[in-house]
Amino acid sequence: MNGTNLWDQQASNRRRSALLVAGFVIFFAWVGFGGDLAFWLATKDLPPHEYHHTIPWLGLLVTALAGGMVWFAWAKGSDRVLWAAGAREVVEPRGLEEKTLVNVVEEMAISARLPKPRIWIVPDPDPNAFATGIDAARAHIAVTEGLLRALDRDELQGVIAHEFAHIRNLDVRLMTLLAAIVGAVALISDGLGRFLRGGGRISGGSSRGGGSGKGGNPLAVIVLVLWVITLILAPLVTRLLAMAVSRKREYLADATSAELTRNPAALASALEKLHAHAAPTRAIAKGAAHLCIVDPLERRINEKEGMLGDVFASHPPISQRVTRLQGMAYMYAKKEGRSVGGPVGQDVG
C-alpha cells in the first residue's frame, strides 16, 4: 500500500475486494472442475458400457454455489458479522451511556462527512469496537458494553473516529467480505474433509476392486492429490489473508481518527485502557477478529515486530500505536491554534 491518501486507499480496497472475490470463485471453480477432471481422467479409459464422467456437473454446481456465497457475503455479510457477535441495534438510546454513544457517532459523521451509520452494542464486558459494511451508506459501527463503561467521552470519540476511518477508506468492505469468506471456506473445507474421509472409505473398497484390473491413470492421481492439498490449505490461506490485511490499516485508521477528532491523545489513552483489559472479547468470533480496533483474542504475536509479526499478526503492537499517536498529539500541541485543516496523519503509516 503505497499511497496513503484517501483516494488511493479507497482504490486499493476496491481492487483488493475484487481480487478476493475473484480468488474465491476461482478456488471454488478449481475445486469443482478439478474434481471433474480427475473423475474424467479416471473414467475415460473404461470400457464403453461403464460410467464416463463427461459432463462437469460438479464444477458447474460448485461454481454456482461460490457465486451465491459471494452475493450472500456482499448483501448479508455485515448482518452475519453483527449477528455472530450478538449485537443489538441502538434505535432509541436508553440511558446516558447510549445517548453519549449516539451523539459521538453523529459528531464524527459530521466530521468525516459521511452518512450516519447504524449503531450496535455488543453485550460483552471486554472493551472493543468494530465497523462493518459494504460502503459508507450501508455501514455499521458496533461497540461492546465494556467499551462504553471503560472510556470517557473524548476516548470514545477517538475510537468511533477510528471506526469511521475504516468506513471512509472502504476497509470495511474488504474486511466484511473477508470475514464472510473466511467463514465460508472454513465451513466448506470442514464439510468436504468430512465427506472425503467418510466417502473415501466407501469408495476405497470399490475403486481398489475395479482399479487393480486397469492400473489407474497417473494423471488422475496427480490432479486428485493437488485437489486434496488445495482443500486442506484453503482455510489456512484465507485465515492468513485476514491477518495480514489488517495490520497497516490500523495505523492508518489511527492517523485518520486523529485528523477527525483533532485529539490523538484521547485515542492513545483509549488504546491503553483497551489493552489493560486483558480479557478476550468472547462475543466476537475468530473470523471477525481482524475487524476490531484491538485484537479480541489478545494474541501475543501482535506484539512482535518485523516479518513474523507482519505476516501472522492481525494488529500492530498497542505500544507502537500509542507512541505514534502521542507523536501526533505533540505535533498538534506545537501548532496550537494554527490551521488544523491539513491531513496531519499523512506522513505516518
Binding site: 446516558l96 445517548k99 453519549t100 451523539n103 459521538v104 453523529e106 459528531e107 464524527m108 459530521i110 466530521s111 462527512r113 472510556l151 470517557d152 467521552r153 473524548d154 470519540q157 491554534g337 485543516g341
Partner: protein
C-alpha cells in the same frame, strides 16, 4: 468561416453553462452547510431553557451566571447573518462554560440524571456545531475561490455569486476552551 464561428460560439456557450452551473451548485452547498449549523444552533437554544429550569432550584446563589446564560442565549437566537451569529454564539459558549465550571461546586447537580443528560446533549450539540463549522468553512472557501478565479469570475455576476462569509473564531478565549465537558460524567 461561418462554420468556424458557429463552433466557437457553441463551445463558448457550453463553457458558460458549465461554469454557471458549477457556481450555482457550490452556492447551494454553502447554503446547505449553513443550514446544518443552524439546525444545531436551534437545538442548543432549545436545550438551554430546560437546563436553566432544572438547575434553578439548586443554584440560587449563582443567579448572575444563569442570567448571563439566558441573555447570551436570547442574543444568539436573534442574531442573523454569519458574522453576527458567530459572535453571539461565541458569547453563549463562554457563558455556558462559566456556568458548568460553577456547577462543579454543587454535588447534587453532579448526581442529577436530568442535568447529566442535558450536559451530554449540550456537549454533543456543541461538538456538532464545531464540526459543521469546519465543513461550512471548507465549502465556503471553495465557493469563494471559484467565483474569484479567472475565467469563472466572468460568469460570477450572471450567477449572482457573492463571496460567502466564513465563520471565524475571533475570540482567543473560545479558541482555547472549546469544550463544555468537565468529565463528571465518568471517571
Amino acid at each position: 468561416m461561418t462554420m468556424l464561428f458557429l463552433i466557437v460560439l457553441i463551445v463558448l456557450a457550453l463553457w458558460v453553462i458549465g461554469a454557471y452551473n458549477r457556481l450555482i451548485a457550490l452556492k447551494n452547498q454553502v447554503v446547505n452547510g449553513w443550514k446544518q449549523i443552524d439546525v444545531q444552533l436551534k437545538r442548543r437554544h432549545d436545550l438551554i431553557p430546560n437546563l436553566v429550569n432544572t438547575v434553578k432550584g439548586s443554584m440560587n446563589f449563582e443567579k448572575e451566571t444563569l442570567e448571563a446564560v439566558i441573555s447570551a442565549r436570547n442574543k444568539a437566537v436573534n442574531a442573523s447573518g454569519v458574522k453576527e451569529t458567530a459572535a453571539a454564539e461565541g458569547q453563549l459558549t463562554q457563558a455556558l462554560g462559566r456556568f458548568f465550571a460553577l456547577s462543579e461546586a454543587y454535588p447534587e447537580l453532579k448526581s442529577n440524571q436530568n442535568v447529566l443528560q442535558l450536559q451530554e446533549e449540550l456537549t454533543g450539540t456543541e461538538n456538532k456545531i464545531g464540526f459543521s463549522r469546519q465543513a461550512y468553512n471548507d465549502i465556503a472557501t471553495t465557493y469563494n475561490t471559484v467565483q474569484m478565479q479567472f475565467p469563472t469570475n466572468l460568469v460570477a455576476g450572471l450567477a449572482k455569486a457573492v463571496p460567502a462569509d466564513l465563520w471565524e473564531i475571533e475570540d482567543a478565549a473560545e479558541r482555547n476552551v472549546p469544550k463544555v465537558d468537565l468529565g463528571f460524567g465518568k471517571a
